[in-house]
Amino acid sequence: MAAGVAAWLPLARAAAIGWMPVANCPMPIAPRDHSKRQDELIILNVSGRRFQTWRTTLDRYPDTLLGSSEKEFFYNEETKEYFFDRDPDAFRSVLNFYRTGKLHYPRYECISAYDEELAFFGIIPEIIGDCCYEEYKDRKRENAERLMDDQEENKDSKLPNMNFRETMWRAFENPHTSTMALVFYYVTGFFIAVSVITNVVETVPCGSTPNQKDVPCGERYTVAFFCMDTACVMIFTVEYLLRLFAAPSRYRFMRSVMSIIDVVAILPYYIGLVMTNNEDVSGAFVTLRVFRVFRIFKFSRHSQGLRILGYTLKSCASELGFLLFSLTMAIIIFATVMFYAEKGSSSSKFTSIPASFWYTIVTMTTLGYGDMVPKTIAGKIFGSICSLSGVLVIALPVPVIVSNFSRIYHQNQRADKRRAQKKARLARIRIAKTCSSNAYLQRKRNGLLSELLDLTTSEEEQQHLNKSTSLLESQHHHLLHCLEKTTAHEFIDEQMFEQNCVESALQSYPSRSPSLSSQEGFTGTCCSCRSRKSIPLPNSSMSTTHTHTQGLQELSALHIQCAEQQGHSSSRSSLNMQPNEVGRFNCRERQITTAIISIPSPPAPIPEGDGHGPPNPGPSISTTASSNIVKVSAL
């Protein structure tokens, strides 16, 4: 039922009294309205702007968010209103839909933002009123084209496993993928140019032999031109066969325009080879040579502008068709008129109507060669009408074509610009990502240091470290920490990782650091200990930096780069209490290895392979820590 007329339902029901006298059977029982609510004002608070409306207004469309019980999820008990954290400007059109039954699309609104709002409130965009529907559809189509461009660029990225055939096809379609493809692209372009130029130069008269007048170069240097032609055609044939082999769908490839052009370009040569002997058909053979000019269309693979032009003409096919049709009509009309007008005059060139076609075309396109001119007064009058109307008829469809071309051309420009900017955008996005992961690494160090500071009971410094992270951040970091514990590996930043790789490559023997040996005495609570035994540590130079806590604590060794400590120098100063230990470090390449008592956090929720013995609860740390020397040095 059209929801807009819901307000009139009581009238229709009341008017049903009119059927009662006529009905023979008893009527069904009316449904009872259980919730005898008075119609009440509902307050909708959208990001601070309060909208008010009757409940029944919203109930008109029960399959949307506001009309159904879904809005109860957004009810705020304290203020007795429904709070939505959305854009209040877009909400206006949504609420107007309930009031008037017509959904309008505001022109200033971004199309995807509007779509999201509609999706949020459960309204399908198809019910946008006719007044705004065209605009909505146009904007949506533009947006979709833009997104499609982006997707096509993404598809260009190399898929990991592509067989030879697919690689070749990609190389053909997109010359920038590999050097070979680029070479191939330029070579074919060069040969197309050579072929076209030879065709042109063939006909130029060059030099005269004394006994004959000027002969075209083609006849003078027959052999040379023939060799060039053969070479070009061979290249084109090879290219065509390769494309045919690499095409994912051979049938579709053979039907495509470019392949037809390729075939037409090389066919005359082969036909010529076959038919040189027969003199009768040499005339047709000469005609066939005309088709060699189609080789120039092969350039459209190399030039994007040509492709755009072709695409524009194709998309303006209806306008072009209209232009042609109206021109034909006008030509026939004016040719007939001119013929009959000039029939009377003597020695007129307008011998028949088809002969007048030429005059009409030349006049309508304002060429005016002057080889046929009307001599009678009537002819001159009609001739001028013809030229005036020619200007009009041609000028009408041209702007449509021009605007189409302009739209497509600009789209292409935008796509090129976006492609160029894409690298920069991706780099910036990657930086943002590494910032977030670096935040975690930073926090780790802060967190672990704060544990150390617990021992030295410096409360203010601990707070100073912790205040910069919000609750959300700390929860996120906890999640990452749990993942580390599950996999018994830790996150480090790229520079450390590269240094580790370099060191592990330099190490000729997997040397076990004393840390491992000292771990034998531990009751490894985290499987990290167990698995570390099998992994040789790359940096065996971390010699004596370990707390030997027999079976009470877990150890995690962190590499901290000096450069990133600047911000924490103040907090570190209290840790530099044992300068005599500094000398015992083999601080290679500004690396600091710190053995820190890690938080005995419970292992990750995902059950691990070995939960071998529980970690001791917290209170014991302080007692054991004081008995251990924690060696930390800061350069």
């Binding site: 999820f73 005609t287 068709g321 990782f497 609570t525 698995s531 691990e608 939960g611």
Partner: protein, 229 residues
């Protein structure tokens, strides 16, 4: 001969053009209709959840908590359902260093209990209810369901290896110590050593629950996320 040949071609060209022109007008309406139909896209799948009261009864969340959950859910997915790609996107944002898509796939299958390819708010809230407010037995059940990729009641070594690789993928490559190829496999072996009591190569739900209940670490960690909401 030459002229005739070219004349023929010229006449052919004119005829073809004329035919094209007529085509344009003859089929103009038809092509227009086609384009209109093409533009009618199917509107996106929309889903509205059941009422608050019903959800309150089915899950262990209070009304306020359900409201908060729904607001967050609907903000991210205005259409009311999450499909797998959106879920992978969202989940990957928490693990910027590695590739979380494989694990997100397994998680998605664990949440999508009716296997219809999308996670609605009910699925979401039921899953959360088990994970945050359920008994230890229920939580372990859920974890078992997560590992059992083909839902046949047994965890095989291959399934566990897939899960383990997915977890290690999330770490990315910049880890200390450097991730080796065989690390996931070793981890799986350790897991099976612990869990597979009768050494038959698969872990059943009973073995799993038994073993986890006897492990204090695991038991303690089950309580870790009680106050997430």
């Amino acid at each position: 001969m030459n002229l005739e040949g070219l004349e023929m071609i010229a006449v052919l060209v004119v005829v073809v053009l004329f035919v094209k022109v007529l085509e344009q007008f003859g089929l103009l309406e038809a092509s227009y209709d086609d384009s209109v139909e093409d533009e009618l896209e199917l509107s996106a799948v929309r889903h509205r959840p059941e009422g608050l009261e019903k959800l309150e009864a089915q899950t262990r969340f209070s009304r306020k908590e359900l409201q908060i959950l729904y607001r967050g859910f609907k903000n991210e997915c205005p259409s009311g359902v999450v499909n797998e790609d959106t879920f992978k996107d969202i989940y990957s944002q928490f693990f910027p260093q590695g590739d979380a898509s494989t694990y997100a796939h397994f998680l998605f299958n664990a949440f999508d209990t009716d296997h219809n390819g999308s996670v609605s708010f009910e699925d979401f809230v039921m899953g959360l209810s088990i994970l945050l407010r359920g008994s230890v037995q229920e939580k372990l059940n859920w974890a078992f369901n997560l590992y059992d990729i083909n839902k046949d009641g047994y965890i095989t070594k291959e399934e566990m290896l897939d899960i383990m690789k997915a977890i290690y993928d999330m770490m990315g490559k910049c880890t200390y110590p450097i991730l080796k190829e065989e690390t996931p496999r070793q981890h799986v072996d350790m897991f099976f050593q612990k869990m597979d009591k009768n050494k038959d190569g698969v872990v059943t739900i009973d073995e799993f629950i038994d073993c986890c209940q006897n492990d204090e670490n695991i038991m303690r960690s089950m309580q870790l996320f009680e106050n997430v909401i």
